[in-house]
């Protein structure tokens, strides 16, 4: 590892933010490079100096009172789509049920009409079939008689 690579990684090294391999490489370089080791020490000392001399504010009880006063009148806001779904769920259920009942009624009526139609059609067919049978077997006295050559007076002239 070159000194520049080591120096760029020194802060991440002290914060334990390097991968296992990177950390090992930096540690190995620091053992052999006095200059980089010196740089590490001064960086650590500077950070420690600021950390130990930085005053921490304490939370005052009044702060929670102020927050709780402001939040006590309301509940956490849920996402817009949640309220949309919640608000729309009852009308949507009513519409869905209405559509379902409507469809079932329509389907029932359609099937009943179809049954009626088929039943009427079958009756009609039976009637037609009977009439055809009557025509075919005897009620027409001219059925089966072929017209003779003289039946048409214009036929012979044409010949």
């Amino acid at each position: 590892m070159k000194c520049k690579d080591c120096l760029d990684n020194l802060t991440a090294y002290t914060d334990r933010e390097l991968s296992f391999e990177e950390e090992a490489r930096v540690a190995s370089h620091l053992k052999s490079c006095r200059s980089c080791a010196q740089e590490l020490k001064s960086l650590e000392e500077a950070t420690a100096m600021v950390q130990s001399n930085t005053r921490e504010l304490e939370i005052r009880p009044q702060l929670w009172l102020a927050v709780s006063n402001r939040i006590s009148t309301e509940s956490p806001r849920l996402p817009v789509f949640y309220w949309f779904v919640k608000a729309a769920s009852i009308p949507a259920l009513v519409v869905a049920l209405t559509l379902l009942i409507g469809y079932l009624t329509y389907d029932h009526i359609r099937k009943r009409d179809l049954d009626d139609y088929i039943s009427q059609y079958m009756k009609y067919r039976e009637t037609v079939f009977k009439m055809q049978n009557v025509n075919a077997f005897g009620s027409n006295p001219f059925m089966g008689i072929k017209p003779g050559p003289d039946a048409n007076p214009f036929q012979s002239e044409a010949r």
């Binding site: 802060t11 914060d15 001064s42 504010l57 996402p79």
Partner: protein, 198 residues
Amino acid sequence: MKARSAIVTPAALREWIHRAQNGDVESYQNIYDSYARKVLNFIHRMVHSPEEAEDLTQETFVVVYQKLGTLKESDKFEPWLFRIARNFVYQRHRKRPPQGVSINMLKEEGRPIPEIVDVRKNPDEEFLAEELEKVAADAIRSLPEKYREVFILSALQHMPYQEIAEIVGRSLASVKTDIHRARLQVRESVKKYLKVQP
């Protein structure tokens, strides 16, 4: 990775968030108790004014409560919380001119400052400690905002780089570079007081 300073287990936090989302203020108070100090100090170091830090912390926790229902992953709560706090710092503090008032100046003006108990008794030690405090505060304040926020979150709040990247909305590589540059600048500001010179 370093341990988080907030003493709260992920399971407990998940439970508190779930309850608070349903309007349980007591659970929200548990969340507040665990994170308010960190948020207050983060904001304070960004804006240098205890009063404004308290004001913005209050705003942060009100908005966090209101928006808690939109948080999907409870393990992302801390970066989400600090992102809201950071937004307040940038939105509200930028509207006002920089005050440039240090803690020491506030002391002189006699304004009340909540602080930790000071166990140092020796006057010389006390004088030196005050001077070092001023040097440390000035070192942080002199950083550009971009570096200041990552310095505070990494060196003083001990947050993992990945969480810092989520808070500031920059890449992990960029945050790593900024943290290193911030530390170099801080060292430059305090080098007079170091035993080991760069």
